[in-house]
Symmetry: D2
Amino acid sequence: MNFDYSEKVKEYQRKLNDFMSEQIYPNEKIYEEQLNAQQSRWTEIPPILEELKVKAKEQGLWNLFHPDATYGAGLTNLEYAPLCEIMGRSLIAPEIFNCNAPDTGNMEVLSRYGSDEQREKWLKPLLEGEIRSCFSMTEPDVASSDATNVEARIERDGDEYVINGRKWWSSGAGDPRCEIAIFMGKSDTEATKYEQQSMILVPLDTPGVSIKRMLSVFGYDHAPHGHGEIDFENVRVPATNMIWDEGKGFAIAQGRLGPGRIHHCMRLIGAAERALEDLCVRVENRIAFHKPLAEQGVIQEWIADSRIELEQARLLTLKAAYMMDTVGNKASKTEIAMIKVVAPNMALKVIDRAIQAHGAAGVSEDFTLAAQWANSRTLRLADGPDEVHRRQIAKLELSKYKE
Amino acid sequence: MNFDYSEKVKEYQRKLNDFMSEQIYPNEKIYEEQLNAQQSRWTEIPPILEELKVKAKEQGLWNLFHPDATYGAGLTNLEYAPLCEIMGRSLIAPEIFNCNAPDTGNMEVLSRYGSDEQREKWLKPLLEGEIRSCFSMTEPDVASSDATNVEARIERDGDEYVINGRKWWSSGAGDPRCEIAIFMGKSDTEATKYEQQSMILVPLDTPGVSIKRMLSVFGYDHAPHGHGEIDFENVRVPATNMIWDEGKGFAIAQGRLGPGRIHHCMRLIGAAERALEDLCVRVENRIAFHKPLAEQGVIQEWIADSRIELEQARLLTLKAAYMMDTVGNKASKTEIAMIKVVAPNMALKVIDRAIQAHGAAGVSEDFTLAAQWANSRTLRLADGPDEVHRRQIAKLELSKYKE
Amino acid sequence: MNFDYSEKVKEYQRKLNDFMSEQIYPNEKIYEEQLNAQQSRWTEIPPILEELKVKAKEQGLWNLFHPDATYGAGLTNLEYAPLCEIMGRSLIAPEIFNCNAPDTGNMEVLSRYGSDEQREKWLKPLLEGEIRSCFSMTEPDVASSDATNVEARIERDGDEYVINGRKWWSSGAGDPRCEIAIFMGKSDTEATKYEQQSMILVPLDTPGVSIKRMLSVFGYDHAPHGHGEIDFENVRVPATNMIWDEGKGFAIAQGRLGPGRIHHCMRLIGAAERALEDLCVRVENRIAFHKPLAEQGVIQEWIADSRIELEQARLLTLKAAYMMDTVGNKASKTEIAMIKVVAPNMALKVIDRAIQAHGAAGVSEDFTLAAQWANSRTLRLADGPDEVHRRQIAKLELSKYKE
Amino acid sequence: MNFDYSEKVKEYQRKLNDFMSEQIYPNEKIYEEQLNAQQSRWTEIPPILEELKVKAKEQGLWNLFHPDATYGAGLTNLEYAPLCEIMGRSLIAPEIFNCNAPDTGNMEVLSRYGSDEQREKWLKPLLEGEIRSCFSMTEPDVASSDATNVEARIERDGDEYVINGRKWWSSGAGDPRCEIAIFMGKSDTEATKYEQQSMILVPLDTPGVSIKRMLSVFGYDHAPHGHGEIDFENVRVPATNMIWDEGKGFAIAQGRLGPGRIHHCMRLIGAAERALEDLCVRVENRIAFHKPLAEQGVIQEWIADSRIELEQARLLTLKAAYMMDTVGNKASKTEIAMIKVVAPNMALKVIDRAIQAHGAAGVSEDFTLAAQWANSRTLRLADGPDEVHRRQIAKLELSKYKE
């Protein structure tokens, strides 16, 4: 369990940190301004984003997430962790490096389980950053924390599949470049529990697909990416759009969720690190009651606790990454579940303290704190609520004591 | 310390609860839709709001906040507490009953400290709900938790005062009906610490007043009310706009903050009560792992802790109200400080649990939870951050042990 | 819900506070010394205790707990609350006022449900403080949090009952003056769930009763009172020792537990108040890093949070007391459950902070903090663990939403 | 930063775990019984202890703590961590392996800074486990969290030093085998801040040394080891008893505290692991409300949180150990401070949950939980309270932002 960074990783860290300082942080406000200046927040992409993507690609800071060198940087989870952390420091950064959810997960699915045709048609432009994708799994009418609740249907009809269902929290669906959804639904309600579901590719312009609305997260619309509630009504796609095979939906989801979850955690660590930096800078420079806030014992306690929680979350994430690399995602499920609980809660605590130290400025758009807080809060729910992960951890722990 | 509700209070409770059920809850979505349908969120008021105001006024549910029967209902703090709590259940309700911040505080200031002319010109239309007002105290460049930091200036020049300063978090400033600001600034930097500041009335259409931007709170713009950052540059108002007298700013602020703070706390209790209701209804009706969420022990723990925290916060608020009524705001400062710490933190915990129980729906606009959470979060900062209140509570406690 | 103290209560408060200052606090160490000087900690009672009992009785500070004026002071729960709180400030105080558990609960049981003969034989000397009693309900082999788990048996055999069972945490059993146990067990395993159990009086000198050992609480033996593990093996008592009637055990327990629980809570509030006083005095007088600890922001936060938690716990306890007085114990079960969760946890937090502020002295015998902490910790378990109370609170809350 | 266990470490782990299972756990009760059967708890050593020491030594499980192969196993901190953790699972284990505080720290001091004569006379028998030692630094009259507060004096007088001072929490002083104290005091109050203090060896039988009393910890006397309050009155020792040199006390303390602190943390991790095991076993086997406690969601949450907190604390401890090994104790001071805060608080939480799951049994002597809790609680104070460590962490964090 060697957590040292290799020279290759250190070089990427240097380049990424430079890129963040020179290209990302100074353009966060510009991105917002361009977005707000658009006729609609949903119809165009702020130009700065595509400009920065070009620059990132030029510098080789592109598709670092992909563990297969055919498609990306070919880094292990342990190698990618400190890089993904850096990207997590800015909410606009991941896409600029083509490392944003849900596209990363979708690209992994296509590269691992997709047919040649599917890879050519969808994976290639995704890897190039030309199109975007969404993942349609969660449903408004049932508790998705229990995956067997899914009600959507994928039914074979000749050379086609007919798709029906209402999905929401299809993140990325609002983006004008979003062309394809990976849709999860039941293809055989008679099969065994874990073979009822399939995943199928649905182009968003297929008749019967309609985005009913874009959901907000606290007051954020997350435009132009956004979170769509989508109606799929008698949507027909060629049978070749099925991924892997009928009944493989659950198996694909398991493969997809491990990396997806750990990437979220890595980014949250970066978000928390930046919040702690913001906090420290703020309290050094803000005077109240005749001394800098930094000299207040309570503020010092926030800093110490933040540092402590951050270090621990990072080490646990590295351990999970190491295990995924060495014993596989399945054997790492306790560790993945643990960081999925730890990282969002840690980030929420650290960011909340930073907000408090900033006074009212902290809840406003003047810092990225409030937006990062809202994002972190959703990650106590996305990919399973804390409670489901804790339950799994407990069951695995208790299983040690059963014969 | 009798916390029983009088018949008068019970009658108001009945009427308010009925009004909430019949008029407010069903119209929350309509209010949002009307607001979103406007050309701009800032130029008009959703018609439903004014319609409901008329109905509330007709039913005598109007200006219940005002302790002086000349201006309002003439209720004590203890009597108003359970009524204000009910209003706090909906973010659109307080204004419908003409009981929203900062207008209530401003009306109290004008009725207690305003001249006849000031009362005629500003208080009257405020009491009628015809105009709105804002309160310009906090400044972006200094830590406002320490009131002596204020940098704005109010200087006498003949029959006028010349006003300079940058203020922000002037809540309500975005409203097209907002006509007047109460502005706080230093009129005499040589005076003793608590006599340097004054409060003065500044019509928003006075030359030199410019709203630079409207601030967001966790992505919410709170339009059309909003939170303004306002530049006051060589703004000239008649000397008669001074409230009470030069140097009385701090004294007025002290008088204003007690009721203002407790009203916030009362509303937060209502917000938390509604969140707990939402939580209970949700978990009764949501199935995961073959049983309603309500049967999960962890969920039951959330419900129990929420009920416990709510009851305690309400009792402490009632005690503070009772003390304000009987021994005055000054002698109640420990109690006011205590509820100012307790109520927002309690509400945040209860609402956060309700969000978690709702899954992703909880962070969206489908419930009022996320918006209420964001509002509650600002109240750990508004009117003084928790830390300043705790400090004061500690000092008062320690003072018992000094001879 | 009037929480004001009557003149009668204020007079008792004055007398009790004086007695505490003059007689109890200065003798706490002497009590310990006398106890440690005894040949065995279990065979004698430190003389100072009986001396102080005489003084307390002389001053009318005796049996204040008993709500029936025939037996005690005839105070309501609301009246007794602030008095019991004062007694809770010292671990040796309750017995000195004849107000200590489990004797108070046992005396209540006998006065409400006992026969004339039982009252004459056992209640009278208990009220006089001449003998002590214990309560044998909890069993080592089953989870007593679920009362239906009780395995002990009480079987009728002619004019006698034959008693079998292993009980532990029979508090008071170690006391050489302890003469009588109230024993709970099943008299009819075929009866309906709540009518299977009975309570019966068992003199400790009856053949077949043997105290196997005295249990410790953390490192405290709580001698000479103590907590006994008692074996009851074919113990025969006259049938007239049955309390009320066969099958009434559960009904009596319900009646007994309400007051018992609230008394614990009242005492915990007193214990926490004293801890906060100790903390304040300590930090005013202890210098580190060139200033008194009292000037450290973190310490101030402890003080503020302690004051806040204390006030809330006291108000909730008063509300529960008021409700017990007005609507009865059964209708107050939510409130009783709430304070049973709140008071021990609050006391543990406040006392823990006081310990931390005292440094290593805090965990030693030099202050009453460590002993009070250990006592408070047991009260998260005694009379039902927190979790069972929370579960009940949740069920009552959820029941509001079921038709 | 490679946390993998080497083959050597794995072999030690196997042997230690076997020894714990075969020799230690089954003898914990016997140790207690022997101790209680003694005429006094302070005059003799329970025979089982010395018997087990012999066995441990035979198996090479001896002095594993010492990083210098001349004196012990010559393991790095990273290697020793998982071994020390195992020893921490039982309160009687560390001494059986000659790895208990404060003897380990004292042996390290003597081996690093002692003269040949001092090593021959005191280190040798300590390494053999023939004698025991104590460390006399903390004083009752001043806040020892600020080391400059020390008031004790060490004054040169010819060939001797004259020692005066009152020390307490001299752990181990109660042991009949305890022969020597390392005493810290000021030898030159005029020197610069960090050169005023010296450490000197004081045989406990020197005239003028008197143990005033043994202090308790939450009711535990920790006999026969114990915590002494010791009066040093005009105690004269040869000048050759000075360790290293006059004025080196602070430097030695710094060297001593790093390893001392991390050893405590390692042991606490072991204590918490055992508590979690106890918890799991208990809840699998205890039925309430018709199912094992293990199926209660709240209990599962305790288990999950415990596992999460444990893993994180262990990783952070390993990181600190790794850094001490590679960059030295001084450059690791943030990490040492972090684990010093994390480990005791983590252990307290985990053990407290285990206590709660055990019901009243948890606070008794039937499990090691209560005793381990009390021990862990003192470690939030020993070697500096949490607050001092947090303060240091914050200062180091803030220093990154100062030019």
